[in-house]
Amino acid sequence: MENKTSLKIRNLVKYFHEPETFQVLKGVSFEVKKGEFLSIVGKSGSGKSTLLYVLSTMDTDYEGTLQINGDLLTGKTQNQLAAFRNEHIGFVFQFHYLLPEFSCLQNVMLPALKLGKYSTKEIEHKAYESLRLLDIEGQALKSANKLSGGQQQRVAIARALINNPSIIMTDEPTGNLDSKNTEAVLDIFRGLAKENGQTIICVTHDKDFANNTDRTIEMADGLII
């Protein structure tokens, strides 16, 4: 179990064509084991977010291959990838996007309702658990746009956990959090990796945070160094 490959990329190359053609990723390859807590660091503009969007299957405009849990995802259709993300990937965006017209609870529940594996009652129960884990269940029924940045970020993390995804990817998950909450998130991720065998990939600027992960990859100018 320990040595199973969770995610594997080979020779990822990505260009942006606007405003001019520009190579962001210049052949990135690595492997992440199941249950591993990986951090990606690097200077601003080095291509960390870009890489994470490719890993998350949302960005399909790249060269090279992406495998998750042994499935080759390169070349699949958008709808197949959406279904795959729904079940296997939890994602926290750099700018913690929530649906503003929905309550925090609904925001957390939606991916699970979409997956449709459990009854609404079970999902609600699980959503409350996730929110409690991030110490935000007091805001559950508030509409998402009435929360502070840090609170929204924690709701977004709770949403990423709801379907028990095999991989959780986060882009600056603690960017808006104080040290106490940062510590808490770190603990949660470590626990999920250890106890549930969930793979965690975090892009971060926070050196302390990175030092507390199993492995750190550093990027510069579209390459791993």
Binding site: S49, Y53, S56, M58, D59, Q78, N79, A82, A83, R85, N86, E87, F91, F93, F95, Y97, L98, L99, P100, E101, F102, Q106, L110, P111, L113, K114, L115, G116, R159
Partner: protein, 415 residues
């Protein structure tokens, strides 16, 4: 399960933008109610017109006029021979018009299952005379019971009684305006002069008032036997045989069938009154054009609102897709919003259309037989109005929702 999430999301979208939703619904409501009102009004007008027309018009008429008979003895006896013919002393014989053996025809017609009533008539022009006054008019010799069945003629007799014609051998029923013009009342005597110069006196046993002034001014009814005597025809003679059938819009097959059995001219009311048919169709075209224009405008409104909503929500669409909702889910979310707007608008439109029609039906309009503006409801108009309303919104919602389905989440989220 997944379907119900989509509907849940759709309903949050609809309720969180109340005014936008309200305006969209009102657009459909207005279109649907106008469709119902326009069609009910046009139906009312058509029905009034028809009721007027069919008070004196049968669905099918059988008559005999000799000018349509052409007889070529050579062609009918030897169709394609090389023989040389020599015809001496060829004459055009005057065929008499009218139907001599009307009883046989009537019993043939009565056997057809579509037929509900048959009446024989003898119609001819006469002068009505009283004292020094002399008025040109027409006499209808009729079979009392059958005539009443076709046209409810007994109901328009305002003085005297329709059935008096049965009992009084020399009775006549004349139009109200004709009676006024001649200065006559019930029980007065009136002289009738035919084109053959035969003159006879009758006693007025009734006066009728129809909704057609022309008829009230010129027409008189005689019992058919009295009419036969007056013009010197045999006891089986009729000039017209009038037929009403079950479905008056469906005369063509009946006319065709009768044509095989009966050697006289057979004419449907549509052929005889093309202007009636044309008027009704034109009014229907107007009703449909107006209501579709309104629905089209409502459709554009909905298209705009949906497009705006989707532009506003593009970030949220991206998030939904990022967390696993497929393009199909997104499309169904926005299409169910359109569908809900259509159904709600349609429902309110039915109520509003019904109320508007009832209101219009109260407006006084004292022309001909009318008292108020006519409204006639048909279930099919209500059903079609809702169907068109929902269809319009779905079509209007389709393009924007397809656009939403195609949103590429990563370009939006990357910012």
């Amino acid at each position: 399960m997944a379907k119900s999430v989509n509907i849940q999301i759709a309903s949050v979208h609809l309720t969180s933008k109340f005014w936008q939703t309200f305006v969209a619904i009102m657009g459909v409501t207005f279109g649907v109610s106008m469709y119902i009102f326009m069609n009910s009004f046009m139906n009312g007008v058509n029905k009034t017109q028809d009721d007027l027309a069919f008070s004196a018009l049968s669905h099918i008429r059988i008559y005999n006029q000799d000018n349509n008979h052409s007889y070529n003895p050579i062609e009918s006896e030897y169709d394609n021979s090389q023989t040389v013919f020599n015809i001496h002393n060829r004459k055009s014989i005057q065929y008499t018009s009218g139907i001599k053996n009307s009883y046989g025809i009537v019993s043939l017609v009565e056997k057809q299952e579509e037929v509900v009533a048959v009446a024989r008539q003898i119609n001819f022009s006469v002068f009505f005379r009283s004292g020094s006054k002399k008025i040109n008019g027409r006499v209808s010799g009729i079979e009392l019971e059958q005539e009443d069945k076709l046209f409810k003629s007994s109901e328009i007799v305002t003085q005297g009684n329709w059935n008096n014609l049965q009992t009084h051998k020399s009775g006549i029923i004349i139009g109200k305006l004709l009676a006024e013009d001649l200065g006559l009342q019930v029980n007065s005597s009136i002289n009738v002069l035919t084109s053959d110069g035969v003159s006879r006196n009758y006693i007025i046993v009734g006066i009728f008032e129809s909704s057609l002034k022309d008829i009230d001014k010129t027409k008189a009814y005689l019992n058919i036997t009295a009419a036969r005597q007056l013009i010197g025809e045999n006891s089986d003679y009729a000039s017209d045989i009038l037929i009403n059938i079950k479905d008056r819009d469906n005369t063509v097959p009946v006319v065709k069938k009768l044509g095989l059995l009966i050697p006289f001219q057979i004419e449907s009311w549509q052929e005889a009154n093309e202007q009636l048919v044309a008027g009704a169709s034109l009014r229907n075209v107007i009703a449909i054009a107006v209501s579709f224009t309104i629905l089209l405008v409502a459709g554009f409104g909905i298209y705009n609102i949906m497009n705006m909503t989707i532009n506003e929500k593009i970030k949220e669409i991206a998030i939904l897709k990022a967390t696993g909702f497929s393009g199909k889910d997104i499309k169904s979310i926005f299409l169910s919003q359109a569908g809900a707007i259509g159904l709600l608008g349609g429902f309110l439109g039915v109520i509003l259309g019904y109320l508007i029609s009832l209101l219009i039906n109260q407006i006084p309009f004292n022309v001909a037989s009318l008292e108020t503006l006519p409204i006639y409801f048909r279930v099919q108009d209500f059903v079609l109005a809702v169907v068109f309303g929902v269809l319009t919104t779905l079509i209007a919602g389709y393009l924007p929702s397809r656009k939403a389905a195609k949103v590429d989440p990563v370009t939006i989220i990357r910012g």
